[in-house]
């Protein structure tokens, strides 16, 4: 069930209506039933995997707590607890590996053996990737580690825990919630309030704007150009690559914001997943603002356990590369994703290595570090580096990505900026113009967010009639300008594949 489908637009009001009507003590059970229905709408059989992950991590939590008690010596306790964590990780990651990485592994093995002139030709399995498996697996594993570290008590109520793993607003594309935040709220679901309802509605509208007005409109242009990059070279590829950065932001952030809004309407506060990432002044800052829930997960459960930055420069750089390489693999079972992840790690290492030089240059050139111009240069440089890496993310393969980058800078067709050719790539002049205005609006909203101005608060401070008008205008704008409905093949949210 997609957030931009009619099915969801019927499903969600029913869930909310019932949620408000039923007694507080059964609300969690209602949400659990709704969440499983939500997941089963996609593929009923694959709910078994969700249940498997839930049971494994639930049991591991209980066992972790039990192993911590008793009169046995501390060393044995620790060993048993580690065993529990390892078992939980192995079982969960095995499922993830089978469904997401097995074919990729076989294909890579065949290719490597091919280079060595050894013919193995192991068959692939072509398993359907379960929607959201990377998200709920990581959320469930995060719970196991949190219990292991003693940051939370193991959840005793299985149904409540099952709801934590399957809570439908964030089930299939995040944010990857922390048990500390979400489990506590599910324990005693808050009484819904008008303020949170209004905020939830505004968030959902903004998310829908990002997804159906911007991301899906940009996708038409990007798909046209990247789908035939041998024909669309030079300026076309530059524009498409710039736009893809906005597309993936609007697509993923849009989904997260809808999830946040939907949860808010139910009285549950999920964590922010994006915080004006393209206004970052460095790649490291970008990753603190982009997909915050995943970055935080990798930081807390991989980078820091690997030693983080506590074991010297070289080890820090290795840890960074490992973390970003794994992050790339998490995003997709292909070497192009790994390269995308590694590139982001490499940019950060280069940035770190060059820091003394940059400081020296700033001093020598008498650059005002707080000036807008300096900030703009840094933001533009960061965007350029991040966007260059996105080429690997979007292209069909690493080789295609390299060819695209080459064609971007070698083909000479600068007239395309001026002669209207850009309007022949799937979007006519009016649609292209609307897209540009939409991106400008997005930019303004992000600047407000960056500066701590809450536009939702500004709306909430208006008279009720004005609020009604604003919501009406927003809904009509999305309905009129959104890419939806008949003839429009609702592009799956890009992040569903992860």
């Amino acid at each position: 069930m997609l957030f931009n489908s009619l099915h969801f637009l019927i499903f969600f009001p029913i869930v909310v209506g019932m949620y408000y009507l039923i007694p507080q003590k059964v609300r969690a059970y209602w949400l659990l039933a709704a969440s499983y229905y939500f997941y089963m709408c996609w593929n009923a059989k694959y709910v078994v995997l969700l249940l498997f992950s839930t049971i494994v991590t639930y049991v591991s939590g209980i066992l972790l707590e039990r192993c911590g008690r008793g009169d046995i010596e501390e060393k044995r306790k620790r060993r048993r607890r580690k065993l529990c964590v390892a078992a939980s990780f192995i079982l969960n990651l095995s499922v993830l590996f089978i469904f997401k990485y097995l074919d990729f592994g076989i294909e890579s093995l065949n290719r490597i053996l091919g280079y060595l002139h050894i013919s193995l030709n192991a068959p692939s399995f072509d398993l359907l990737l379960p929607v959201g498996i990377s998200f709920y697996t990581f959320q469930a594993l995060g719970y196991t580690v949190d219990v292991y570290r003693g940051e939370i008590y193991a959840e005793k109520n299985f149904f409540r825990y099952a709801l934590f793993v399957s809570f439908f607003p964030q089930l299939v594309a995040g944010p990857i919630e922390r048990s500390k935040n979400l489990l506590r709220q599910l324990d005693r679901p808050a009484k819904p309030k008008f303020d949170s309802f209004r905020e939830g509605v505004l968030l959902m509208l903004w998310g829908y704007f990002m997804k159906v007005v911007l991301a899906d409109r940009i996708a038409v242009f990007v798909d046209t150009v990247y789908g035939d990059f041998e024909t669309y070279t030079g300026v076309y590829l530059i524009v498409a690559t710039l736009l893809f950065a906005v597309q993936i932001y609007c697509d993923f952030s849009g989904y997260s914001v809808i999830a946040l809004g939907a949860a808010k309407i139910l009285g549950i506060q999920l964590m922010e997943n994006f915080d004006a990432p393209y206004l970052s002044a460095s790649v490291a800052e970008f990753w603190r603002r982009w997909h915050i829930s995943l970055s935080g997960w990798f930081r807390d459960y991989l980078y820091i356990p690997l030693g983080g930055n506590r074991k010297g420069k070289i080890r820090k750089y290795v840890n960074l590369l490992v973390t970003f390489g794994v992050s790339g693999l998490w995003h997709g079972a292909d070497w192009s994703y790994v390269i995308w992840g590694l590139l982001n790690g490499v940019w950060q290492i280069i940035g770190d290595v060059l820091t003394p030089l940059k400081k020296k240059m700033v001093g020598l050139l008498d650059v005002k570090k707080d000036s807008l111009s300096h900030k703009c240069i840094r933001v533009a440089t960061t965007f350029f580096l991040v966007d260059l890496a996105w080429v690997f993310f979007r292209a069909d393969s690493a080789f295609s990505a390299l060819r695209i980058i080459k064609r971007m800078f070698t083909a000479k067709n600068h007239w395309v900026w001026f002669d209207g050719s850009l309007f022949t790539c799937g979007l006519n002049r009016q649609n292209f113009t609307l897209m540009i205005w939409g991106i400008l609006l997005l930019f303004v909203v992000d600047i407000c967010k960056y500066r701590g101005i809450s536009l939702r608060k500004v709306v909430a401070e208006q008279d009720y009639w004005a609020q009604c008008l604003i919501v009406t205008a927003a809904v009509l704008g999305i309905l009129l300008f959104g890419m939806w409905g008949a003839g429009y093949d609702a592009a799956n949210f890009i992040y569903f594949q992860f």
Partner: protein, 446 residues
């Protein structure tokens, strides 16, 4: 409690804003095909004695305003475009909610088809104007098999919202058509060869035949006379089979049937708008005239001319004539213009310059001139053969005509090199010249 009531009040206000906004954008983005063709019928359904149904063949071939002018019959053409008979069945069911006609005329083209929907876009044009009610829901459920595709028929905004960038003045000032549902095609095309009537009738039962039976039964159960037709066009062998199949069903139910494929009512050489399916205005007028005569002879349909209750129809006819005149004025090519000149509502004076020798430029001109005269005359053929100048005065009001070959001197000397044809058109109702058009040697309008 006070807070709760306040919340409820503002919730209602918000819902009202939203509903009004959605209604506005839904209406705004609707391209108005259905509105333009059907709104008048839905507003004044009870005044119609005859309703015409079918698809584009019938829409282009039967002109209610001509039936009014010539016979005083109050009729409306509800034929859709590209829709098969199952859709026609539902259009009839809906129409009978608005009107109590004395007779229904159904064209049976596409009776051999097995599909119910036809092209979705075409179905929209027939269904969009119908308000959403229980019957429309049943209609959509019957016609559209895929539940996912039904939404766009329940709420067409799901299709048309994409039109925001294409909105223009016409979308803000939606107008009703002046042809009472019909559509006069102005194109002229040489026809494909018509197949011969097959020796053997296959008589296959199809979804189309099943729905034609339902149509007849529905009308008969309401006491409405049914007339079946098969509108002429350059028919294939399959079309002949359809026409014969319709005849069998007509006999089965004891209803009248006109198979135009069997009749020499139209001259396909001059009366086709496209090469293989539709009639142009000239062909349509001939079919309309034939149907008018047939109905007058075989059915008891009242002549409403002169009745106070139908006074507006005379105004409608004047607007319809003005519309035809505007259409003529906007035509750029000689063949289309000659086709429109065949309308008996107009008289015309035509001069063809001999030196221009237009006959060699387009093989259609000779049949189109012949169409004006009711057949090729000796003088016309002489002018065409010798490349001489040709002058024709056609007075449809007096029923007279005058031809001459070889006359010179109509154009000034300096014009002579460039003007090939001059046509002056007079409105038969008031004798006023409504258009005077000159075509250059390339036969484009000056």
């Amino acid at each position: 409690m006070k807070k709760y009531l306040k919340g409820l009040f503002w919730g209602c206000i918000g819902a009202a804003f939203l509903s009004a906004g959605i209604c506005f954008v839904t209406k705004l983005t609707d391209p108005g095909y259905g509105y333009s063709r059907n709104k008048e019928f839905m507003d004044e359904g009870e005044t119609y004695d005859i309703l015409f149904f079918g698809n584009s063949h019938a829409a282009h071939a039967v002109y209610p305003m001509e039936l009014w002018h010539n016979y005083g019959m109050a009729s409306y053409n509800l034929a859709g475009f590209g829709i098969p008979l199952p859709a026609t069945y539902w259009v009839i069911k809906n129409a009978l909610d608005y009107a109590q006609p004395k007779m229904v005329v159904v064209d049976c083209y596409s009776i051999g088809r097995e599909d119910k929907t036809g092209k979705k876009e075409m179905l929209h044009a027939s269904l969009d104007a119908i308000p959403l009610n229980a019957k429309k829901v049943r209609m959509i459920r019957d016609l559209v098999d895929d539940p996912k595709e039904r939404l766009e028929f329940y709420w067409d905004f799901t299709v048309y919202h994409d039109r925001w960038w294409d909105l223009d003045q016409a979308d803000f000032e939606k107008s009703m058509g002046l042809e009472k549902g019909a559509q006069i095609a102005v194109d002229v095309a040489p026809p494909e060869e018509m197949a011969r009537e097959p020796d053997k009738f296959i008589g296959k039962e199809t979804v189309g035949t099943a729905y034609l039976r339902r149509i007849i039964e529905e009308c008969q159960s309401r006491g409405i006379d049914v007339l079946l037709t098969y509108i002429p066009f350059p028919a294939s062998e399959e079309a002949w089979q359809e026409a014969m199949c319709a005849e069998r069903i007509a006999k089965e139910y004891g209803v009248s049937y006109i198979n135009f494929l069997d009749l020499q009512v139209v001259d396909l050489e001059s009366d086709c708008a496209d090469k293989d399916s539709h009639l142009n205005g000239s062909g349509g007028r001939k079919v309309t005239e034939y149907i008018g005569q047939y109905i007058e002879k075989h059915y008891d349909i009242p002549d409403h001319r002169g009745e106070d209750a139908y006074a507006e129809w005379d105004d409608d006819y004047r607007r319809y004539t003005d519309y035809k005149i505007d259409t003529m004025r906007n035509l750029q090519s000689l063949d289309k213009y000659l086709m429109m000149c065949s309308d008996p509502a107009f008289s015309c004076y035509i001069y063809v310059d001999g030196d221009a020798d237009i006959w060699k430029q387009n093989e259609m001109y000779l049949p189109l001139f012949g169409n004006l005269l009711g057949g090729k005359t000796d003088k016309l053929e002489e002018a065409a053969a010798s490349g001489s100048s040709y002058f024709l005065v056609l007075d449809n009001q007096k029923g007279s005509r005058r031809e001459s070959v070889g006359e010179e001197g109509l154009f000034d000397v300096e014009e002579k090199d460039s003007v090939a044809v001059q046509i002056t058109v007079v409105n038969g109702q008031d004798g006023v010249i409504v258009d005077n058009k000159r075509f250059d040697n390339r036969l484009n309008q000056f």
